[in-house]
């Protein structure tokens, strides 16, 4: 599925937002891929991801460590590694090493198309296929406002609730949390670990400064 494809926001907001997916193909090359993915997790850890998660044990903002993620890959019949970065140089470092080691595992990068293609060119890669986002169709008038959408669309599986965004924004507004603490809470429900916390901080700061992100549902629940 395409859980990193439909991230909303301006070009400027998306500029430092990269999602990397390392995916063996079920029944084609997934057998024997566990060790390769363990090595790939170590390469990612060395670069320093903004977030990383797994279907098996959640993400690094929800109690898992990168070592936990690496050591639990064996639990999946078809293991997968998902992570995001806020720094182009780190992405280049990871991709360069993965290419050198020639693991034969499929790699996708979600980000600004022109930028990702430029990076691939610099690394001497020949991109194979592209998944384009043609946007959201249908009853779009029912969607939350732009500020909420920019944050919740970072979890493509839809695990990040708009009410949680409003709740966390409210806690920041009342001085009960820092913006980063709020952003890290927003990253928890995204098991895959592709909510970019640095970008969530930027979005929260931008919209809170504008007086946006007012709660539309009473921001219920304990602090």
């Amino acid at each position: 599925m395409t859980h990193s494809l439909h991230r909303r926001g301006s070009v400027e907001s998306l500029r430092n937002d990269y999602v990397l997916l390392f995916t063996p193909a079920a029944r084609i090359n997934h057998e024997g891929s566990h060790e390769k993915l363990r090595e790939i997790v170590e390469i990612i850890a060395e670069a320093g991801p903004t977030n990383i998660g797994s279907y098996e044990i959640r993400n690094i903002y929800d109690g898992a460590t990168i070592e936990d993620i690496r050591d639990n890959l064996y639990k999946a019949a078809v293991p997968r590694v998902r992570c995001c970065f806020s720094d182009r140089d780190k992405v280049m470092q990871v991709l360069r090493k993965v290419k050198e080691n020639d693991y034969g595992i499929s790699v996708t990068v979600s980000g600004l198309t022109d930028e990702v293609l430029k990076m691939a060119d610099e690394l001497g890669m020949r991109p194979h296929s592209i998944n384009l986002s043609l946007g959201v169709w249908g009853r779009t008038e029912r969607l939350p406002d732009k500020a909420v959408m920019e944050i919740v669309s970072m979890c493509g599986h839809g695990m990040l609730a708009k009410s949680l965004v409003e709740k966390q924004a409210d806690l920041v507004r009342r001085g009960r949390k820092t913006v980063r603490e709020a952003a890290e809470e927003l990253a928890r429900p995204c098991t895959c670990g592709i909510v970019n916390v640095d970008r969530a901080v930027e979005i929260l700061e931008r919209y809170l400064a504008q007086g946006d992100l007012e709660s539309s549902c009473g921001a219920p629940g304990e602090d």
Binding site: T2, S163, C217
Partner: protein, 241 residues
């Protein structure tokens, strides 16, 4: 998901975590989960840290018909048939080795209910049926394929139809020359469904690195976002066809 009301203190901690707004309050303190709205994604159970363990997932969520909600909504659930987590296939993620979308073809994914609103399976069926009229067949590895009653007509099995999910992805490949026709049909469907869908278009790069579908999109006035997902071609064995 259910709440053991005898254990619930009414603290409401769980409410903001529900992506579909299914946790409701009957004043003054009764907190309950609307079973029609609940998508069985498990987020409240994993995230809220209920102080009295009042939230619980009954085993029925893994059995028909609630299992439809579970497998199409919980990112941590893996479909038994396809070995894939989530609601669709590996789409472009592994296209370099699966060649699911070949040269001269396009891949389209209609991600029903995404973002935020979720989808009723009746709306999903409406889309599959319209595509079936056009001779389109779902991707075989897509979990929806296992829920069809009649692949020729695109109908879903009856027990599936009343279910609601966070998203279900209608995926298929077609010859590239049909792109304009298919996008026209999808544009009509957008006016008929009672939810939203995110629309994906997969294509191979041309030998010169260009993206062959862009002229069609421009001609039809269909906007594509500046961000995309790119398969770098590092998978082996590489399928070039």
């Amino acid at each position: 998901m259910l709440i053991r009301e005898e254990l619930c203190t009414g603290c409401r901690r769980c409410i903001p975590y529900c992506p579909v707004g299914a946790i409701l309050v009957e004043e003054p303190r009764r907190v309950y989960i609307d079973q029609d709205l609940c998508a069985e994604c498990g987020t409240c159970l994993r995230m809220a840290g209920c102080p009295t363990d009042a939230l619980f997932e009954p085993s029925e969520v893994y059995e028909k018909p609630r299992s439809v909600r579970k497998f199409f909504s919980d990112a941590m659930a893996t479909h038994k048939e396809t070995l894939l987590p989530g609601r669709g296939t590996e789409e472009v993620k592994t296209n370099d080795v699966t060649a699911r979308v070949k040269r001269g073809q396009i891949g389209i994914a209609i991600e029903m209910g995404r973002p935020v609103l979720g989808a009723k399976m009746t709306d999903v069926e409406k889309v599959i049926m319209r595509l079936a009229e056009l001779g389109i067949r779902l991707e075989g590895n897509n979990p929806l394929s296992h829920l069809l009653a009649d692949p020729e007509k695109g109908t879903l099995q009856d027990w599936v139809k009343n279910e609601r999910v966070i998203s279900a992805i209608v995926e298929f490949a077609a010859p590239a020359e049909r792109l304009e026709e298919l996008l026209g049909a999808i544009r009509e469907l957008a006016a008929e469904v009672d939810t939203v869908f995110s629309l994906d278009l997969i294509t191979r790069f041309d030998d010169d690195g260009s993206i062959p579908v862009l002229p069609v999109l421009d001609r039809m006035g269909i906007h594509y976002r500046p961000n995309s997902k790119i398969n770098l071609g590092l998978g082996r064995p590489l399928r070039e066809e």
